[in-house]
């Protein structure tokens, strides 16, 4: 196992996430894509930490923070998406056009 393997895995996951954000219409799916990107970052961080000359826990500490903050983000997002669904009857964000943005 080389560092580059983890890098490629991280990059692949990240690109999948970016694709998901750009291609999906459902707010829930976009959210999942963002989570995928965050997890790609976690893979990178933990790998970078493990492959140092003297392995440190720094990367893992960042990963823990990323996981918890992502959970908070998801909770907030689902709450707002549920409200969007109640007012609109759909979770698709491409129908968001009240402001023409």
């Amino acid at each position: 196992m080389m560092l580059i393997h983890f890098e490629l895995l991280g990059a692949g996951l990240f690109c999948l996430g970016v694709y998901g954000v750009l291609a999906r219409r459902s707010g829930v799916m976009i959210l999942m894509a963002v989570e995928l990107m965050l997890n790609a970052v976690n893979v990178n961080l933990v790998a970078f930490a493990a492959f140092r000359d003297i392995p440190t826990a720094t990367g893992q500490v960042i990963a823990i923070f990323v996981i918890t903050i992502a959970a908070a983000e998801v909770a907030l997002a689902l709450a707002i998406i549920m409200r969007l669904f109640r007012s609109r009857g759909s979770v698709n964000v491409d129908q968001i056009d009240l402001m023409g943005g």
Binding site: I4, R52, V61, I64, R86
Partner: protein, 159 residues
């Protein structure tokens, strides 16, 4: 920066542990499969009685009468609130784990810091509790069935 893992031996040991999980998986499939097979063969050689009735063919649901179908059953929207709360409190506990493994070495200062963290969680919990976030609110304005996507919408979104 090294280009290979810190110690390949540890890394391989670590991966090898997944081998045990794999073996466990095979056993987990084999045991029920063999039981079903024995039962089937028992029918074939007429060692087992065969008297079907509707209750026997019902889906097992903790002894209750089953309700609804198993296809795209809508969850009550109220479950989502509990799921969200669970998610939040469950994940925040991840901070307790690293502390717990090193609690003795870190001493009272870290214990104080963790207490502050738990106190903050308690504030969030108190807020949920007082605001009625944990009540099974029967008077929720939107009936559950309307507050969730139609199966068609979900499939469309997933497509």
């Amino acid at each position: 920066m090294r280009r290979t893992a810190p110690s390949m031996a540890t890394m391989d040991d670590y991966l090898r542990q997944y081998g045990f999980i794999f073996i466990l998986g095979i056993v987990a499939v084999l045991v029920p499969a063999s039981v079903l097979m024995v039962s089937y063969l028992g029918t074939k050689i007429r060692a087992r009685p065969f008297r079907p009735n509707p209750i026997k063919y019902d889906t097992y649901e903790c002894g209750m009468d089953t309700s609804g179908t198993v296809r795209w059953e809508r969850f009550n929207v109220r479950y989502y609130r509990f799921a969200l709360l669970f998610l939040l409190f469950d994940v925040e506990v991840v901070f307790l784990f690293p502390w717990a493994t090193q609690a003795g070495a870190l001493g009272w200062g870290a214990f104080g810091a963790i207490l502050v963290f738990v106190a903050l969680m308690l504030v969030g919990w108190a807020y949920e509790w007082r605001r009625g976030g944990m009540e099974w609110d029967e008077t929720l304005p939107q009936p559950a069935a309307e507050a969730l996507p139609e199966p068609a919408a979900v499939e469309q979104a997933a497509a």
